[in-house]
Structures are given as structure tokens and as C-alpha cells.
């Protein structure tokens, strides 16, 4: 019996090894779930956020996914959504709250956290904690208001507010450190999660969003904003072992959007970066540039150009999605492209789509 068991175990192990060595399938792609969620910001003063589900098998979209699951509308404009430990966390603005739904059923069964949450922007999870970047008020008037809210997910309360001036936007955790992109200061803040000590990595422009590569190092967007102009816009590369900005790669007009303005391909060979430019008629329109990770350079040709109202990009099932919302009074669209830039089709979303979220179990 024991031998049979070992034999079976050996057979299974060999099978796993055999299948995992099959070069015909992309192991990363296999892990992608069938359904992805498009988060629609909604209108700040009108209709609030909605969620559009996209089923890759049926190639169908369905808006109002949250409402369908919960029978009521969201009451906030979602700034960012994050999949962590079986739940999807939403950073809600106006009404300011952090709320969450079950990652499978999309049901909300608990009330959101509002205490000590003022203008939440983005979040990152680590163990029993969720770290939420918060503006803390009108950051454009007072840059000292902002902070990181450390939420204890077992008590469902903000356990600590870590003061972090400079308007933290995107956050990511690597090597037990929280990296916060500062949108009102030419820096990335690094918070040691063991003692909450803060250090800074100087950057040539203000920053907004991170993408973590397979080595746990970070690509960060370097943006020129109205309040902090820079001619050094582009992306930077941060080594999280040394906490150094190892390189910067200029890209004129890189988007100052806060969320999902960069998206890596599933094999991380390419990084798609949202940018904008004026067309021949001096109308401002969105474009997507491609950063070749191997050669560490931007391709000369834009991936796509002339997309009016580009809010965000996403990569899913070997497809690049561009989220477009020209106004906040009408539904937006998700434009799907092959990886070579060939347009596939448009999908209707809710108002102001801006990010794609996949939920891994």
C-alpha cells in the first residue's frame, strides 16, 4: 500500500513536471481567471462607480455587476480597487471609505471603514494589514495633510496614521517596505514596515504609479503636472534592494493619471505606458507607448494613438485594453487590441472606466 502510494505520488509529480515543461502553453496565461472586472469611476457629482464584468469565454461584458450582486448602488467614486486575500478592496472617494466585497461572489456583507479615511487613493496589503494612501484633505492647498492609513483587517479599523506629506498616490510593497509614489513632491517615499521609518528616493519629477517586475523591483511613472512641471517625464526603475533610482526613461506627455497608467504584458517583456499628445488639430488625445523591458527603451512607434478620453490601460488574456471615457455623463468603452496593436473591438462599460482587475484565488 505504501509503495502504491509512493508510486502514485511519483506519477503525479512527474505529470506536473511534464505539463509545466510544455512550451506550447503559457503558464502565466493559464493562471488568468475567466472573468476580469473593469472599474468605472462614475461621475464625482453624479452617478457613482460601477463595475463591468468581462467574461473572456463568452466575450461578453455586463455593467452594474456590484449592483447585481448587492441590489444597491455603490455610494462612492472608486479611486482604486485591489484584490487581496480573497477580497476586493475599494478605495472610495466622495463618500470617503474603504469597503470590500467577497472576491468570488462580489457580495458586500460588512460596512466600509470611514473613520480616519480621508480621500483614499490606493492600497497595498501585507499580512493582516492594508496600507492605504490618503490625501487627508485638499492636498493641492496643503501638502502636509496626507498620510498612510494602516488598517488592521481583523479589527476593521485604522490602527495607525503614518504622516506622509507630499500626496501619496500609488503604493506597493516589496521586501517588507511600502513604496509610495508622491504626487506633490519629486520623490518616492519608502516606509520600513518593521518600524514605520520613512526614507525618500529622489526622482526628477513627481510620481504616481508603480508596476512591480518579476524581481520585485519597481517601475514608477514620472509625471509633469500643472502644479509641478517637469521636462523629465517618463518612467523610472527602482531597485528595491538598494532603494536607488537606477534609471529613468524619458517619455514626453506621460499620463498624469493616477491609476493603471502602466500595464505589463503577462510575460513582462513589454510595459505599456499611457501617454497623451496633441493631434494635428491641436486636440489632446491619448496614446500608448511600449517600453521594451529587454532593451530598456521605448519603441519609436506608439502602440496606439489618437484615443480621446483615455483613462487607463490593462493587459488581460494577451489583449491590451484601453479604457476610454470622453465625458462623465455617458458610458465609456474598453478598446481591445492585439499585442501588435491591431484593433479587435470595443466593449461598452460604465461611466469613466479606468482600470482592470483580475481576481486570483
Amino acid at each position: 500500500m505504501k509503495n502504491k502510494f509512493y508510486l502514485l505520488l511519483m506519477f503525479l509529480a512527474t505529470s506536473v513536471l511534464f505539463f509545466s515543461c510544455n512550451t506550447g502553453d503559457d503558464p502565466e496565461e493559464e493562471q488568468e481567471p475567466t472573468v476580469a472586472y473593469i472599474i468605472n469611476y462614475g461621475s464625482y457629482s453624479g452617478d457613482k462607480s460601477t463595475v463591468t464584468s468581462y467574461n473572456s469565454e463568452t466575450d461578453a461584458v455586463s455593467t452594474d455587476y456590484y449592483k447585481t450582486a448587492n441590489s444597491v448602488d455603490m455610494v462612492s467614486n472608486t479611486q482604486y480597487a485591489y484584490n487581496f486575500d480573497g477580497k476586493i478592496y475599494f478605495m472610495g472617494n466622495n463618500t470617503d471609505q474603504v469597503f470590500w466585497v467577497d472576491g468570488v461572489t462580489f457580495k458586500q456583507t460588512e460596512n466600509g471603514i470611514t473613520t480616519d479615511i480621508i480621500k483614499p487613493r490606493a492600497c497595498a496589503g501585507n499580512g493582516i494589514y492594508l496600507y492605504v494612501s490618503c490625501w487627508g484633505g485638499n492636498i493641492w492647498s496643503d501638502e502636509t495633510l496626507s498620510y498612510i492609513a494602516k488598517i488592521n483587517l481583523t479589527t476593521k479599523a485604522v490602527e495607525k496614521k503614518i504622516a506622509l506629506p507630499g500626496g501619496p498616490e500609488g503604493v506597493v510593497i516589496s521586501n517588507n517596505k511600502l513604496y509610495a509614489a508622491l504626487n506633490y513632491k519629486d520623490s518616492v517615499a519608502v516606509i520600513n514596515l518593521s518600524n514605520d521609518a520613512i526614507s525618500y528616493i529622489a526622482t526628477p519629477a513627481v510620481t504616481s504609479y508603480f508596476v512591480k517586475d518579476k524581481s520585485d523591483n519597481l517601475y514608477v511613472s514620472l509625471v509633469s503636472t500643472y502644479s509641478d512641471f517637469s521636462d523629465k517625464a517618463g518612467i523610472g526603475y527602482i531597485n528595491t534592494s538598494t532603494d536607488k533610482l537606477e534609471a529613468t526613461y524619458n517619455l514626453e506627455g506621460v499620463s498624469s493619471s493616477y491609476v493603471n497608467m502602466m500595464a505589463p504584458s503577462s510575460d513582462f517583456s513589454s510595459l505599456f505606458v499611457m501617454t497623451s499628445a496633441y493631434d494635428a488639430n491641436w486636440n489632446l488625445s491619448g496614446a500608448v507607448a511600449v517600453f521594451d523591458v529587454a532593451s530598456k527603451s521605448f519603441k519609436t512607434q506608439k502602440f496606439v494613438e489618437g484615443i480621446s478620453g483615455l483613462n487607463g490601460i490593462g493587459f488581460y488574456k494577451n489583449t491590451v485594453f484601453c479604457f476610454v471615457g470622453e465625458t462623465v455623463i455617458g458610458n465609456g468603452i474598453a478598446k481591445a487590441y492585439e499585442t501588435d496593436g491591431t484593433f479587435i473591438k470595443n466593449y461598452e462599460t460604465g461611466i469613466s472606466p479606468f482600470m482592470l482587475l483580475t481576481v486570483t484565488e
Binding site: 470617503d96 460588512e110 470611514t114 500643472y226 499620463s255 497623451s276 476610454v324 470622453e326 455617458g330 468603452i333
Partner: protein, 643 residues
């Protein structure tokens, strides 16, 4: 809707009962003369211009222009609970309706729109509304229509005074005074008011989210929506001869409020506050000489507008205007007049988001208008207007109108009229110069308005009235919207809108013994559709947002002895709030009641006591998506008049 029908039914029954009674002779027909905008009507035959009757000015005197218009005319307004209200005449945008006083159009030069909640009726005697394009006297922003505020020249000989105190629900207070001093030739009129409202009304909040107890609605109270407005209107008038006078008006206005938060924020962040303050100084001086065949007029004005958001002093939003106007009118005969005029304006914008290189902008308009009457029955007017704006091309805008007396009998008169008018709007300073996103190369918005109207006036013993029916078609092209450019938003000429509809307005006055009653019913059907758009939209050829397809109002005001009773109701059909089908404001009907009593203390001292109940049916409604509106409210006023 049922309430509306019921109320119409009740008022009609009332009317029916009254109409079966015999009347004494009536010596007047209720045809409202345009006092302050007479000249506009004179050169715009066929244009629809309605003056609010004095009786209703009296009823609404404690409130704002928004409250008056929403109650008395079938005009769409998008409002919150007292601090912001914009007019959308005939499906046009708020930027397309101008509000005018003297020779001043006081729409914001930066935002384009005027806030009807910031116009206190206590300072004015007349309100007239032009439906459809107006291209005389109101600069460029009157594609959809125009509102004219006026004061009457009384040429006081002696001293008259009025003091008013008013208290209402939700901490509402109004204190006002009017002082008239003169010798028949010189007159000083001072009007001042102070208005405050805590605005802490209760409402049912549908945005409560208690997932743990599955409760999604709660009784809530509006927080931090206080309003504090005060103003002073000073007139100095001198009469050289009966039709030769100089008038000077100075209007100081300060409007402060907490920005009303939507129901979500009100519930989850009850302490949240944002302030907004408008400071305005408007000065207008007029010299008119109409003694001879050649009549002439000179006007000059200065306007200072300053807006302050959340006490952020560094983000200056300020404009100054200097205006000069001259016109001459020659009367060839009793039937034929020609008017030539020009208006020049220099504007100094000081806005934190504009380039410092933008120092000023000049605008000059030339207007020629011709009025000709044929055979005592047909009146024709032709209006020609050409404007010039610094670094901006504006179109030539003619207008032509006819008015024909089709029937004139002993007891009734029937007029039919028509008007065609071209109009335009210069994009706002924000549209052109805001950095980033402003676009100096924008095209002007262009409007074409076609109007056909008829008016039947009748008079039979103690029964008189008017039935007015208008049909209109309006096309607005190059409609400017701000679009998402990814990094920031930018202005662009985006869409074309067609608006067409029917407007019915009626009033009738009748007497039963000592009871004199005026009633009316107004109805508007406005189909306003986006027919072209450069945006990807689901809402082409569908009713425009915040424009109800149907709206109407009814009113009855009865006077007997020293008493006056008024009841009015207004109905607004469902409205789209965005380009999608889900977010619809349901139809609603509001009913209001007023009672007033006049007390004569002696020959020169009078008191008027009045009470009002608004939203009597406690209708739960929204005029602006997501913003709570008050339920039933009261207001008590005491007015003291000397002389």
C-alpha cells in the same frame, strides 16, 4: 402626476364655479406691458417676452429668481436647495440664458452661467423673460433666452419707506428695507436686504449603507448648506423733463454659502464643509432723451465680479468690465422707426489659471433695428447685429419678426406673430484661456431660432384673459463641452442640439362680487435632442439631460378686501441626468400656498402680513441628481410701508 391632475381639476372646478356667476363690467384686459424691456419688444416683433405679473412679484418677494421662475413659468431649472440654480430655457444650456439688469449681462465671464439663486427679488420690481434667441441688448449669451430684471422709476416727491422682516423654516431670515426720497425731479432709491438660511432640513437619504443589518435608507438632515446673502441697490435718478432723464444704479451684492454636499457625503461626512462666495459690484448709468423725433441714449457701466472657493485667496477668479453704450432712434412717422446703436466693452480677467499675457479683451457690437407698421395691422421688425471680439471671429446675427393683428372684435383680439433670429455665444474665458485645457481656437456657439405665436385676448364683462400659444424650433451648433484629455480636460465644440416644442400660456381674471381672481395655466412641451456629437454617446436623438419633455404650472390668486389668497403648483416631468438610461429623476409636482392681509394703520402707515407654505404635499424630489431638497416649509413676513 395624480396630484397634479387633482390640483388642476380642483382649480378648474373653482374656475367653473366662479365663471357661472354674473360679473360686473371689467374695464381692463390683463395684458402685461413690458416696462423695463419695452424697447426690446419694440424691435423684436414676434419674439416671446413674458413679464411676471406684479401680484406674483409680491408673493415671491422674499425669495430668489429661481423660486419665482420655477413657480410661475414652465422653465426647466436645475437647482439644489437654495444656493445654486441654473436656467435651461428651451433645452439650451445655462450658458445660453443671460440674466440682465440695466445694460449689464451678469452671466459669469469665466463660467458662462448666471446663478438664479443669487438674484434676490426684494431688490427688483420687474422680471421679464424672453423665450428663444435674443440678439439685442444682452451681449452674446442669449441663444436660449434672456431674463431681464427691472426697477420702476417712481419719481418720488417726498419720502417713502418700507421695512420687511421675514422668518421661515430651517433658520430662514430676511430683513429688507426700501427708502425713496425725492422732489419729483431728483430721486434717491435705496434698497437693501440681508438673507440667511441654516438650511438644515430633513429628508430621506437613500444612500445609507448598513450591510450588516441590511438597511439602505435613513432619515437624515442636511448639514452645512448655510446661505448668507446681502445686497444694496442704490438708484440716483434725475428728470430734466418728462422724457429726458438720467438714472444711475449701483448694485453691491455678496453671496456666501456652504456648497451643499450630495446625499452620500452629507451622510458619511456630516462635518464636511466647502464655502463659495461671490462678490459683485455693478454700476450702470443711463441718460435718455426721448423728447423729440430723434431719441438718444447713452449708457456706461462698470462690473466687478469675484468668486472665492473655500477661502482660497491665492486662486483668484476675478473679472472687471467697463461698458459704454450709445444708441439713437429716429421716428420717421408714427409707424416707422430706425434705431442704431453700439456697445463697447473692455474686460480685464484676473484668473489664477490664465496666462499672465492675457491682459484684457475688447468687444464691440453694432446694432441696427428697423420697425415698420403696415395698414395698422402688420408690424415688421428687422434687427442686424455685428460684433467684434479681440482675437475672435463672431458671426453676423440678423433677426426678423412679424406681428399681425388677425382679428379685432369688441370682446376679443387675436394676434399672430413670427420671428426668425440668429444668435451666437462667445466661448467663456475659461473655455478659451484656462490652463490647461482652454482652447483659444474654439468656434462660437451658433443658434437659429424660429418662432410662431398667437395670442387671443378676450374681455367679457367681469371676465378677461389671454391664451398664448407658441411653437418654436431652435438649433444650436458648435455646442461646447469639456472633454477628458487623459492628463487634463479640454474644451471643444462637440455637439449640435435641436430643440422644438409648444408652449401654452393662459391667464384669466374674473370678479365675483368683491372677490377678484386671477388664474392661469402654463404648459410647455420641449423636445430637445442631441442630433450630432463628436463624442461616443448613447444619447443621440434622445431627450437632453435636465430638460423635462413636459412641464407646467397652474396658479390662482384671489383678493377680497384686505385679504389675498394664492395657490400655485408646478409639474416637472421625468428628466435624464446623464447620457444613460438609468439615472432618471422622477416626475414631481410641488404645491405652494400664500395668504396675505393688509392693515391700514392710518393714511401714511400700512402693514402687510403674509404667510407661505411651500411644497405643501411634502413631495420628495430632486432637481439636481443626488442633492436633497426640502419638504414642506413655511415663511412668515411682515412688511411696513410709510406713505
Amino acid at each position: 402626476m395624480r396630484r397634479f391632475i387633482l390640483t388642476v381639476f380642483l382649480i378648474c372646478i373653482g374656475f367653473g364655479v366662479f365663471s357661472q356667476t354674473s360679473y360686473s363690467l371689467s374695464d381692463t384686459i390683463l395684458i402685461q406691458e413690458i416696462v423695463t424691456v419695452g424697447e426690446l419688444k419694440k424691435y423684436q416683433s414676434g419674439a416671446k417676452i413674458e413679464k411676471i405679473p406684479a401680484k406674483w412679484m409680491e408673493v415671491a418677494n422674499d425669495g430668489t429668481l429661481e423660486q419665482l421662475l420655477s413657480r410661475m413659468l414652465p422653465i426647466p431649472l436645475k437647482s439644489n436647495a437654495g444656493s445654486l440654480s441654473t436656467i435651461r430655457l428651451r433645452g439650451s444650456s445655462p450658458d445660453h440664458t443671460s440674466i440682465n439688469f440695466g445694460g449689464i449681462n451678469f452671466n459669469s465671464l469665466t463660467l458662462g452661467q448666471a446663478n438664479a439663486s443669487n438674484v434676490p427679488l426684494y431688490l427688483f420690481d420687474d422680471v421679464s423673460v424672453q423665450f428663444g434667441s435674443s440678439n439685442t441688448g444682452s451681449e452674446s449669451s442669449s441663444i436660449g433666452g434672456a431674463v431681464f430684471l427691472g426697477v420702476q422709476n417712481n419719481w418720488t416727491d417726498g419720502f417713502k419707506a418700507e421695512a420687511r422682516i421675514s422668518q421661515g423654516s430651517f433658520g430662514e431670515q430676511l430683513y429688507g428695507t426700501k427708502l425713496f426720497l425725492g422732489n419729483g425731479k431728483f430721486e434717491s432709491v435705496t434698497r437693501a436686504y440681508y438673507y440667511y438660511k441654516t438650511n438644515n432640513f430633513g429628508f430621506t437619504n437613500p444612500y445609507h449603507r448598513d450591510f450588516e443589518n441590511q438597511v439602505f435608507e435613513i432619515e437624515d438632515t442636511q448639514h452645512n448648506a448655510n446661505i448668507e446673502n446681502y445686497g444694496l441697490l442704490q438708484e440716483l435718478n434725475y428728470r430734466f423733463a418728462d422724457r429726458n432723464f438720467l438714472t444711475v444704479k449701483l448694485w453691491l451684492e455678496n453671496d456666501w454659502h456652504y456648497i451643499q454636499q450630495n446625499m452620500q457625503t452629507n451622510l458619511f461626512q456630516p462635518e464636511y464643509k466647502e464655502t463659495y462666495e461671490d462678490k459683485n459690484l455693478r454700476i450702470w448709468a443711463d441718460y435718455k432723451n426721448s423728447e423729440h423725433k430723434l431719441k438718444y441714449k447713452f449708457g456706461a457701466g462698470y462690473v466687478y465680479d469675484n468668486s472665492l472657493y473655500d477661502e482660497t485667496q491665492t486662486d483668484t477668479i476675478q473679472t472687471q468690465r467697463i461698458i459704454g453704450e450709445a444708441s439713437a432712434e429716429y421716428e420717421f412717422s408714427k409707424k416707422s422707426w430706425l434705431k442704431l446703436g453700439t456697445t463697447a466693452t473692455r474686460i480685464y480677467p484676473t484668473v489664477y489659471a490664465y496666462s499672465s499675457e492675457l491682459e484684457h479683451e475688447d468687444r464691440i457690437d453694432f446694432v441696427a433695428a428697423f420697425h415698420q407698421q403696415f395698414f395698422n395691422k402688420l408690424t415688421a421688425t428687422l434687427n442686424l447685429r455685428k460684433g467684434f471680439v479681440t482675437r475672435f471671429e463672431v458671426p453676423f446675427t440678423p433677426a426678423f419678426g412679424l406681428d399681425y393683428l388677425a382679428l379685432s372684435k369688441e370682446k376679443y383680439v387675436l394676434n399672430v406673430s413670427g420671428n426668425v433670429a440668429k444668435s451666437y455665444r462667445v466661448p467663456t474665458f475659461n473655455d478659451r484661456f484656462w490652463e490647461p485645457g482652454g482652447n483659444p481656437d474654439l468656434q462660437p456657439e451658433k443658434g437659429m431660432n424660429y418662432e410662431l405665436g398667437s395670442k387671443l385676448s378676450f374681455c367679457d364683462d367681469d371676465f378677461s384673459g389671454n391664451i398664448k400659444l407658441n411653437v418654436f424650433y431652435m438649433n444650436v451648433d458648435n455646442w461646447i463641452l469639456w472633454k477628458n484629455g487623459g492628463s487634463y480636460w479640454y474644451a471643444e465644440n462637440v455637439q449640435q442640439v435641436e430643440s422644438k416644442g409648444i408652449e401654452l400660456m393662459t391667464d384669466w381674471t374674473y370678479k365675483i362680487g368683491k372677490l377678484k381672481t386671477t388664474s392661469g395655466l402654463n404648459y410647455s412641451f420641449t423636445s430637445a435632442q442631441r442630433v450630432e456629437s463628436t463624442n461616443n454617446t448613447n444619447a443621440l436623438n434622445r431627450q437632453l439631460e435636465y430638460v423635462p419633455l413636459r412641464s407646467g404650472n397652474i396658479f390662482t390668486s384671489s383678493s377680497v378686501g384686505k385679504w389675498n389668497f394664492s395657490i400655485d403648483g408646478n409639474f416637472t416631468a421625468k428628466q435624464f441626468t446623464n447620457e444613460e438610461e438609468d439615472d432618471i429623476l422622477p416626475a414631481y409636482f410641488l404645491l405652494n400656498l400664500n395668504v396675505a392681509y393688509k392693515i391700514k394703520i392710518n393714511y401714511s402707515n400700512h402693514l402687510r402680513v403674509s404667510g407661505a407654505l411651500n411644497n405643501l404635499l411634502y413631495t420628495d424630489y430632486q432637481s439636481s441628481f443626488g442633492y436633497a431638497m426640502p419638504g414642506v416649509s413655511y415663511r412668515l413676513s411682515v412688511t411696513y410701508n410709510f406713505n
